[in-house]
Symmetry: C2
Subunit: 448 residues, 2 copies
């Protein structure tokens, strides 16, 4: 079998690379090889168990590929020979290609805990069959222990408590969401988790999982033992670099090395999504950012640059913009948090605001929006933002992302025109992000 462009992996970054390549190079043959019979939307996996209640409902339809004229092959790539530009599939076929894109995702990063192989201990992967099995056991379970209080763990806790489960989160760091948000935002999430009836054990590690065949207890290093019908390991993931290593591409523990055009160390091989290493927008250090939104941003870039670099289309550094939800609290983050800015030696000023998300604040369903923005002290340029509020937080944080990526200063930003509506936004007098930027300006220029 012959193709011009071969994409390995059928998740969001594989799909978007394929679609972008079709837009940009309509005369090229595009083939996507993936293992899974159907693809789940990764971001919504935590919501399968209480909200969607069916793995099938979290499906990305294959129609989008078929309609675009992309060849879809359900198989696994065993090996790739870069010399002859041929991929061997497990099913026995061989595919020759001109350009190759690795979109092979991540693998769970499992902690070295005794008892991890007991039945009803689940890690979180994008494999529908695994998720169907997990759902079956979770449906029967009463008591669920989640190991890991990052955003995946917190989202599972939110959704499982909605489904009536008794949930405990065990997080070894002092607060949940510590790797993504500053402490005050983590504390808000903890308050909301408690309100939902979720038990929190923070600042403590799991010693071991206990049980005969099935898990039934989680023992903490504090000595506490927690009953568990199911244990979910939300302990993160690591880039899948297996194939890339076998191909002889440059990799590190952060993933397959790529340049700003998503090219690997081989000029005709690109890598996108969780398997590709990320460079932080500000620190320029390698980092992890396993988000479908980051993956698709990379895919749009790779898809355009396959045949001839379009200089404009490059990854200027990963911001890691995302939002999450705990009960009725919505959180968003983009760029640097204060804790990271401090550790990394940035000279920053914080601008803050608390405003209603509708106006007047007496409108039904009004949430408070708390905004914290970071700016460089000199020049007042955007470094990052965190927002807690209602369901509009997911789009407001995108404004912050745009401001960062566009190189806005606080002084220019407060000059921008904003649209408002009583049901939909804060008042025109106090837009959330403009008001926080004004607070920073006032601090920078030393005026009260």
């Amino acid at each position: 079998m012959d193709t011009d462009i071969l994409i390995i992996g059928g998740g969001p970054s594989g799909i978007i690379t394929a679609l972008t390549a079709r837009h940009c190079y309509p005369d090229k043959v595009v083939t996507l090889v993936r293992r899974e019979k159907f693809v789940v939307i990764p971001c919504a996996i935590p919501y399968i168990f209480g909200t969607l209640r069916d793995v099938e409902k979290d499906r990305i339809p294959d129609d989008v590929l078929r309609k675009a004229g992309i060849n879809l092959v359900i198989d696994e790539v065993k090996d790739v020979d870069l010399e002859s530009k041929r991929a061997q599939l497990v099913g026995g076929d061989e595919v020759s290609f001109d350009k190759l894109v690795l979109a092979v995702g991540s693998k769970p990063a499992l902690p070295p805990i005794e008892g991890i192989n007991l039945r009803n201990v689940f890690h979180v992967v994008k494999d529908p069959e695994h998720l169907v099995k997990m759902k079956k056991e979770l449906d029967k379970a009463e008591k669920v222990v989640i190991v890991g209080g990052g955003f995946i763990g917190v989202e599972f806790a939110d959704d499982l408590s909605r489904a009536g489960k008794k949930v405990t989160i065990v997080e070894m760091l002092p607060h949940v969401l510590s790797l993504s948000f500053d402490t005050e935002f983590g504390l808000m999430a903890e308050e909301e988790l408690k309100r939902l009836g979720v038990e929190l054990r923070t600042g403590v590690k799991v010693r071991r999982l206990l049980g005969e065949d099935f898990v039934n207890e989680v023992e903490l290093e504090s000595g506490e033992v927690i009953d568990a019908d199911v244990v979910i390991l939300a302990t993160g993931a690591k880039p899948n670099t297996d194939l890339a290593e076998r191909m002889g591409l440059q990799v590190s523990r952060y993933g397959i090395e790529v340049d700003e055009y998503m090219r690997t160390s081989h000029p005709d091989v690109f890598a996108v999504g969780d398997c590709a290493a990320k460079t932080d927008f500000f620190t320029r250090k390698k980092k992890f950012a396993m988000l479908a939104s980051v993956a698709t941003a990379e895919a749009r870039i790779a898809g355009w640059n396959l045949y001839g670099i379009k200089a404009l289309r490059k990854m200027r550094g990963t911001l890691g913009i995302f939002a999450t939800k705990v009960g009725d609290l919505y959180l968003g983050v983009a760029g640097l948090t204060e804790s990271i800015a401090r550790v990394e030696g940035f000279d920053y000023v914080v601008g803050e605001s608390t405003v209603p998300d509708k106006h007047p604040g007496t409108m039904p369903g009004t949430h408070k929006i708390r905004t914290k923005l970071l700016f460089t002290r000199v020049g007042g340029f955007f470094l990052g933002g965190q927002i807690a509020g209602g369901p509009t937080v997911g789009e407001i944080i995108n404004l912050v992302g745009f401001a960062i990526e566009s190189g806005y200063s606080a002084a220019e930003y407060v000059n921008l025109q904003i649209g408002t509506h009583p049901y939909l936004t804060p008042p025109p007098t106090t837009p959330a992000t403009l008001t926080a930027a004004q607070d920073a300006l006032t601090k920078i220029y030393g005026r009260k």
Copy 2:
């Protein structure tokens, strides 16, 4: 009485000019004179009758002024002598000032219709006493006729139908919202109004209002007669230029003439908000844009520029970003619509997308988001956007506003990083505005 900065008018633009001036010039004395005992949030006036159910709930608290150390005077300015820089108040006081800001708002633009002075015929003004009286009559009314299907008329219809009233909108143009949105969006609003039980009479004028003392019928030019307990005239407003004319400032029918720093024809007098003329961002023609969000953007600029122009802080032209709501349909607009672009001779390309506002689309409460963006054919620069969808439309349209004001091209825009979440945003594979921008790109570059 002496002040450094005198602001006339207590609405959003007056308040924000005062607060910005305090931030920027903490050593100056700021005095705000207004007529009203308390100030209502203008944007929420339509929601007083079905949602808030109390004029008091739509109040802007005076605390924000008092806490900032701004002198608040409840009185009316009779005249201003620019020679001696003194304002005479109706109550007899005199205020001498150094800088003057006119934030005197608008007056209803009443159509020349017979019967307009009958009782229970209400125009829409920001005067709390008028609104209390209007609310009293609307509470008793069963049948309400709204003259004018612009966004104020449509919002009144939405909220009054929620309150159980039998509502009819009479609009002389072929569709509601015609001045703000293209026809396909007006049609969506009409569908939703019908679903709410609102009667529509479009493409027809009101001939006269009938009744003895109280209005009881509305006669259309088609001959149709509609029963009415209350008639609301949502026929727009015109800038209040009375005082400015008496002061000898340059004015036109679009309002008090101002430069990009919000200075009038007198160097020490600024004008902001509905009373100030607007220049369109793209056409550079004068236009009306009586929105609190526009007014506050101008106020932030005026407040900073009172003593010495800060070149960065200028109005680059009014985009007129805003959102509105009809039942469960939310609409946003920024910049040029297609109908205006065509009339004004722009060479444009349309990019469109329809995506869910959550992901997967099977999430509960998912709305479809329909996005229409306009770009220049050459270069692909943003000209405008219209969005119909769910409650996140109010913030998504701000992304479009930012893109326009920042001079983004579609090619640069689709490169931007976006954050997503199942409950809060479209999928990472198809962000609403990026997907529409990609559609335009595909058209511009002639690829399928």
